[in-house]
Amino acid sequence: MSSRDTILNAVRANRPAPVDLPDVPLFGEGRDDDLLGRFFTAFKLMGGTVLELGDGDPVAPLRARLGSAGVVVSRVPEIAGTRDLDLTLPPSSLADVDIAIVRAAFGVAETGSIALSERELGVNTLAYLAQHLIVLLDPADIVINLHHAYRRPEFARSRYLVFHTGPSATADIEGVLIHGAQGVRSLSILPLPRE
């Protein structure tokens, strides 16, 4: 007998008496106001950086950040990078990227998370090999909490979908918080509506 059938037969023989599957409520009542404010409060707690929209030129704060940067890869039309993302190169080729700029698929107010998939990233390692990640988020794309987030269509259609909540972090040595464990050293968000 194959291991598959051995395991499935053993599970069948040993499974406990059936229990019903409960419905999961959305728990959103009373928390649907000021989603951007709630989002930023949670995001900052997780080590995220909030960028303020510039007067007249909304992406002015981005330009200021990019001034001193080396390799910049932009996946958004609002601002240009220094290098186009070549989708045919291996994922490891992005190791020299200083700053990556992408737009979030959506955000989650409860946790301050943003969702990214291969559609936004082009190459998935862009969000980890870059030293810094800047994300544009349309305030209209923020959902109340994770229950609402998991009803989004992106989960069924994306090969890869990830929530980022602040930058890469570790506290594995004596509980001291370090940003930039293996992934990006900083994660910044600019609340810019889609074009």
């Binding site: 194959s2 291991s3 598959r4 051995t6 395991i7 499935l8 599970v11 040993n14 499974r15 406990p16 008496a17 059936p18 229990v19 599957l21 409960p22 999961v24 949670a42 707690l45 997780m46 994922p91 490891s92 190791a95 409860e110 946790t111 301050g112 998370s113 998935n124 390692t125 969000a127 980890y128 090999l129 994770l146 229950h147 987030a149 998991y150 009803r151 989960f155 069924a156 994306s158 090969r159 890869y160 990830v162 929530f163 980022h164 909540t165 890469s168 972090a169 570790t170 506290a171 594995d172 040595i173 004596e174 509980g175 001291v176 370090i178 930039g180 464990a181 293996q182 992934g183 990006v184």
Partner: protein
């Protein structure tokens, strides 16, 4: 730290640094001696104090998160019910998951035990000509002894989680399922890195140590032939694998090489994507007291030009499913909350349990792997129930620990001292007259005996703990003096027994 006296003129040696206590000795065919290893942990006061306080701090952070969510208890009830439901239909959900994953272009493998799991992984690596493997933390691969098996077969493995990397470089198992190196102080890490990564001897600046790990690991990530992750949850509805990390190292391991292998236990299934709302909200709040991990990653289908393989591992889980008292331990989501809150775990360190799973959850599942080897573990508990109270999926941990003690007694696995003490206690508790005499004597003894008589080699209750202050009078003596006459008058013919 101990200072030894020196004669004048003699050069003072550098104050001896407290060495990191090592874990339980490999018992071979015998049983793991948790108490012996715990004694050595307690004998290292600096390590003990840090460990105890660090884990209790996380427990308090977890409480603050809990209080911020009005529906917390409802989430625990839902999580428990969803897991009960899934495990009671596990065969059909496994089949649904397999079909969905295959439809996504993912290869699905089944492993009866650890050896078969390791053979499948090695086979995949050989098929792809892969000699180097980067991986994120996976307790399942620890449980299967995968690293040793693959290294012996010539594969070079790099753990990419900082804590797990520290433990790999120190040739030591993880001591905590979420924080593998929580038992180490910064200078222990500094010593390991100086020895293995060539960092500056004696530099125990944490930023320097973490940065050194990043800089030395990144080239290995970029050049690796294959990547591996575990899975916190797998979803029957979509075939997706969900991995939660703070470092982003699972995303690098899965997204950089052309081959992504997932090792996951069959009990990690959830029916629907929408169930994740419940579990992701509970997991990191319970584990670390943070609202969510920095990265929550959903791998449903390989990226263009890459391959994704999932190895579904049984390794005793289907047998555990048929154990009426213990099957609900399969609901565990490996948050480690029970470990952080456990007074015995905090004061004995994870390595003293002698297996991948330590603390209360370890006491419950380790004996299912080897009843004799882990027969002393169910006694490493005060049965205070704190573990049960914090468990996000409501596993009745302390009751299962108690039930294992009964199993061990039936199987004649009780250690000699416990057997002897239990026989004496049995005689005492069976006779009210003897019990009263013993209690009165013990109370007087606790009040009047000098310390050397209470804390010595003959009294196990005086080891590593303070005895309580005895009551001046037993309740029975108080009743006889103050109430017995009145009670007799109120209910003639009835004697208080």
């Amino acid at each position: 730290m101990n200072e030894t006296p020196h004669s004048p003129g003699e050069a003072r040696p550098r104050a001896a640094r407290e060495a990191q206590p090592k874990g339980a000795a490999d018992p071979g065919k015998g049983r793991v001696d948790h108490a012996e290893a715990a004694k050595r942990f307690i004998a290292a006061p600096e390590h003990l104090k840090f460990h105890d306080e660090r884990l209790w701090d996380i427990r308090m952070k977890r409480d603050r998160q809990m209080h911020a969510i009005p529906e917390w208890e409802e989430l625990r009830r839902l999580a428990s019910a969803i897991k009960d439901h899934t495990l009671s239909h596990l065969d059909t959900y496994l089949e649904q998951f397999e079909a969905a994953a295959k439809a996504n272009g993912v290869h699905v493998h089944w492993a009866k035990d650890g050896a078969e799991h390791n053979a499948i992984v090695l086979g995949l690596l050989r098929d792809h000509g892969a000699k180097t493997l980067i991986k994120s933390k996976s307790m399942l691969t620890e449980e299967c002894g995968m690293r040793q098996a693959l290294v012996e077969a010539g594969i070079e493995i790099t753990e990419t989680d900082l804590g797990e990397r520290i433990q790999q470089l120190d040739a030591e198992a993880p001591s905590h399922i979420v924080m593998p190196a929580v038992h180490k102080l910064r200078r222990d890490v500094s010593d390991v890195f100086a020895r293995t990564l060539g960092t500056e001897q004696g530099n125990d600046d944490i930023h320097y140590l973490a940065e050194s790990q990043r800089m030395t690991t990144r080239p290995l990530i970029l050049e690796a032939d294959a990547g591996m992750t575990g899975g916190n949850f797998i979803i029957a509805e979509t075939g997706a694998v969900v991995v939660c990390t703070n470092e982003g190292n699972a995303d690098l391991s899965a997204n950089t090489p052309k081959l992504h292998i997932v090792s996951v236990g069959i009990e990690k299934l959830l029916p629907r994507t929408s169930d994740l709302g419940v579990f992701i909200r509970l997991l990191s709040r319970s584990a670390l007291g943070s609202p969510i991990t920095q990265y929550t990653s959903h791998f449903r289908s390989p990226r263009a030009g890459a391959e994704m393989h999932i190895v579904l591992v049984d390794n005793g889980r289907s047998t555990r499913l048929g154990m009426p008292e213990f099957w609900t331990s399969l609901k565990c989501i490996r948050c480690g909350a029970c470990m952080n809150t456990c007074p015995v775990y905090r004061r004995s360190g994870g390595l003293s349990y002698g297996f991948t799973y330590a603390g209360p959850i370890g006491l419950v599942i380790d004996p299912t792997f080897d009843k004799h080897k882990f027969s002393s573990l169910p006694f490493a508990s005060t049965l205070n129930g704190s573990c049960t109270n914090v468990c996000p999926v409501k596993i009745n941990l302390h009751e299962q620990i108690y039930a294992w003690r009964a199993v061990m007694a039936e199987n004649h696995e009780l250690p000699f001292a416990k057997k002897t003490a239990m026989a004496a206690a049995g005689a005492l508790l069976a006779s009210p007259r003897l019990f009263r005499a013993a209690i009165a004597t013990a109370d007087q003894a606790l009040l009047s005996l000098p310390r050397f008589a209470q804390y010595n080699a003959l009294n196990a209750w005086g080891k590593g703990r303070e005895n309580p202050r005895g009551a001046g009078q037993t309740f029975h003596a108080w009743w006889a003096k103050n109430r017995a006459g009145k009670a007799k008058a109120a209910a003639p013919g009835k004697q208080p027994s």
